[in-house]
Point group: C3
Chain length 435, copies 3
């Protein structure tokens, strides 16, 4: 993006991968769910990076077609075999208990237990991740090997959980800029010990928020950390009047795996954020662009037809496209500092374009203005112009209030930073006015 | 299209190929032309499948730039050589006489006869098909071998025909649906003993009309059986006020050869019927899609600039793209039961989409509605949704009154029937209203 | 384009390549610049082909953001070595002196001279072309071999030039047609002894103007011969009220090299001239089409955002894409009679389309009109139509006032001349009216 890598926030961001990884290590053991103490513990750690406003919404509050669910607390859960050994033990891995499982204490045979067991035959060492949100249920997730070794029972089965009225909590940080127009960044924080989905995005969002809080910016940036689906639904229900301010938005998820960056377009398909990421894909910075589809994370809510906000989604490998997805194999080995640093640097690049992109008007639109006397062009004629001089000609020629700098960069096949630099030089020379 | 093949009209239609073939065998010997007793005999047979209203338009009636021609009756035609042998004999093949030939009784030398002979040097056993509509003329179509063996004459040449004031006749069947909006299906019936062009389409249209008459449907279906060009011109002239009701239309021709189904777009190019066939081509059900061109069959009239109706054309191999076209080689060996059954099944598929396609409005457009409690979604979270659940999400997300189910199917890459099923389930749950 | 090559101006134009080459030979020795006697001498020669109106604009006249520069006269320039030999001599090649160099008489060492020398290390025998327009400067262009053999000096350096108030001169020829709508053809005449850039275009424009002046045409044609950049800026400043008449425009340059014809679109991208050249590229007549970019010749001014005229650019190999560009190697060997003839013929083709292209209305738009009785169609039915009959059907079907003949030719994949011929036949038959 820039000729001065040392001072460049994008360049510097790449080095923050290790810090992001360390944060993932710290968050990994916590057993999160859509409500309950795991959420609170996670927000406490996030708050070290950026001040958070926490919103607590009571159980039963109507949020559009939904209502806020009860608060879930899990203390212990196990299956003991006939010998009294904990053959499945929540204390060893918090994926073992189905998230939101109702309390239970029972003796049962193997046949009675069987319908409540989840495993992955094709990956016999991995524990799956299952939830029972929005229905009264329970279950245990086990590796296929555990399941095969369980024996016939009878088993002592216990889930020491609470599921009772309480609150749903989300945290948000509004980093005010020069304008009230907002960039919304939503990150789900409800998944338990799964590193890519979604500790990776939590870590990257924390570092990005910390960096933005430390500098000035034109737009306001709103970071929201909340549970998946019900979190964004609740936020939208509480902030319906505020959404008109959202000029760009990104849902962040799965930013730590070794795959290429993948952007999923907003439902609009041609919002400015879609064009920015499209440009980055064309120039090779982002690996893949996908059309909007109504399956995924919280973009589903922001892009529901009643809102249709300009919110896309940035991931590396998208959900459900890797075997480790929603299993215990999405662990600390599955994410890398390099990938985390690259994701953070890509976000800094996106923000740089968001901040600089604008429409301009050429104030001397009839024929080309003289550039030599204004110090913008070299004077010796007959030679080929430099890339910067090409950028100057492009910005002057296209700036009729229609195409923005991003369009000009795409059309000219010059870098966005060169086009932005040319616009700045021309504006300083009085030849260009920002629309 | 459906999960229940036994009850599925599309599936069942495929088995009707043999019935269509039998009908072709029955129609084959009749010498049809644009007017005259061959037309009447053909309509008599069609009427066994579907009740017809016949319209008789007198010779000389002005129909736009044209006038209805005289009625042609052919009884006999031959060329006798010096030995008195019928070396060319209408009784052996009704293609031997140029269609609409004026009466003639003459003696002539080989040199005098020569300009009135038509043959195909590159296919020496085939008899060509030629007409002299709209000009007073006569001629004989012969195989190249016949021509070469004719000898020097003198010849006795006789055409026992009438060309005198009478009527042009077309038959139509209007199968009323719940609405007055019509699907127009036009089939030309003027070609003599040519199986693919167009006994194949007559047979398929008869079976389709018979099937539609036996069940309820939303739209009205109008089948017209008339002569090519002057038939559709006359119908349009007689029904100009009625064309506003035509929502979709298809000209059917050449539906029995072994080639792939080929759809030719309406002049509009983006009419709903064009989008439906485009979808079927994308999903492999139809082999090829072609842009409109003003050469072909009666779509030329429906798509003339003064009408510009949403009428496309369905054929297998299009006219003039196979050597047998308009020759005696377009015989009973050239068409197959399989192709006829496949054409009929494709038409049932098209009608299924026509009937089900609609725009819907999501009645809970802000965020996703809860689907589990409404029995539309399974409850256990964390797993990947089923294809049906994907279809539900797509229909909910896209239904803002803009895209119809066909667009949603195309965008989601899910089958149209799955999307239609999802729309039905959501409408029953009160989440969707048809626009 | 036409069936009658002998009478066809396009066909005949191709033979004019030798005449164009002879004109280049005559113009080659003259030392042109943006002002001064070289321009006048060049216009004197052009005037032999087409009567010119000359406009003289005094030095200092404001033209938009610029002002008309001083007039430059060069009489002699040399570098003498210590032995008194002219080791660099303007009399031997007029590229040796930097164009617009200020007068100078000095003794200097090799080190003092060095910054004022220009050469091309990678092509050691070629002399580069450099200018010092719009800044007070001087310099010598030499071959790399000359530079290496110069010795240490001291040198006697002299530039016997004037740079003083005078005039900028351009010539124009307005060939009036039936309408005031104009086709603008701009050719820069300021380059010294460089054959492709731009004596080739001057020669082609002269011959084209001569041919057009000798015949009638519908549109008016304005040929402008002026210096690059400041010439078109000055013309636009003097004729601002007139630009509304410009319906099509072409900047001509580099029309003599062995490369393929290359068209650069106007800034609009979809102007009629862009569509015409796009059509010619699709049909293989023109080798390449490029999008507009703000680097090149005088199209930069015509396509500045304040004018945005429908002016494209026709070249063979574009500027800066061949090693010989702006060097002494752009000499008489670099251009060929064949290429010049081909360029002229292409321009005649473009003009033929410009003149004939129009929108028509079908006056019998409901169904097809009868063509046989009007003598437009042959009468025997059953055979395939001829190409001309296809053209007739296409023109009738598409002529609803929307698509022009060019669109119909592109859509039908028939030749433009056949489509135009069909339109003429239909208009003569009273079936078509020009919009």
């Amino acid at each position: 993006m820039s000729a001065k890598p040392a001072a460049d926030p994008i360049f510097a961001a790449r080095d923050q991968g290790a810090a992001a990884f360390a944060l993932i290590e710290e968050l990994y053991p916590i057993c999160r769910s859509i409500t309950g103490p795991g959420v609170t513990a996670t927000l406490d750690i996030i708050e070290r990076f950026v001040p958070l406003k926490r919103t607590q919404v009571p159980t039963g509050t109507k949020v559009f077609d939904w209502e806020v669910p009860r608060e879930w607390t899990i203390r212990d859960a196990f299956i003991k075999n006939a010998a009294g050994d904990r053959v499945v033990d929540f204390k060893k891995h918090n994926l073992h208990v189905v998230s939101y499982a109702v309390p239970l204490r029972a003796k049962m045979s193997r046949a009675e237990l069987e319908p409540y067991l989840y495993s992955i035959p094709e990956n016999p060492d991995w524990i799956p991740y299952r939830t029972s949100y929005y229905c009264e249920s329970w279950g245990f997730c086990v590796s296929q090997r555990q399941r095969e070794a369980l024996g016939d029972g009878p088993f002592e089965v216990e889930i020491d959980s609470d599921l009772k009225p309480g609150v749903l909590t989300y945290g948000e940080a509004l980093l005010k800029g020069e304008t009230a127009e907002e960039v919304l960044i939503y990150t789900h924080i409800c998944h338990p010990s799964l590193c890519n989905d979604n500790l990776s995005a939590i870590a990257v969002a924390c570092l990005l928020a910390q960096r933005l809080a430390a500098r000035t910016h034109g737009l306001s940036y709103r970071f929201i950390f909340g549970p998946v689906t019900i979190g964004s639904i609740t936020w939208l229900a509480m902030n319906e009047a505020r959404v008109a301010n959202i000029r760009h938005g990104l849902v962040l998820a799965s930013l730590g795996d070794r795959g290429a960056l993948t952007y999923k377009r907003s439902r609009r398909g041609d919002a400015e954020i879609d064009r920015i990421l499209g440009f980055l894909a064309e120039t090779g910075r982002v690996g893949a662009i996908e059309d909007f589809s109504p399956y995924g994370y919280d973009e589903r809510q922001f892009c529901s037809p009643g809102f249709n906000l300009p919110v896309g989604r940035l991931t590396r490998t998208p959900n459900a496209r890797y075997a480790e997805y929603h299993t215990s194999a999405d662990d600390l080995d599955f994410v890398t500092s390099e990938a985390l640093g690259d994701s953070l640097a890509a976000l800094e690049t996106i923000i740089a374009i968001i901040e600089l992109n604008a429409r301009y008007i050429n104030l001397a639109p009839k024929c080309e203005p003289r550039l030599g006397p204004r110090g913008i062009f070299r004077n010796t004629g007959g030679r080929n112009p430099s890339e910067f001089e090409h950028a100057i000609l492009w910005v002057l020629n296209q700036s009729d209030g229609g195409p923005d700098l991003l369009s000009i960069a795409a059309k000219s096949k010059l870098s966005f930073s060169l086009i932005a630099e040319a616009a700045t030089a021309l504006a300083e020379a009085g030849l260009l006015a920002r629309v």
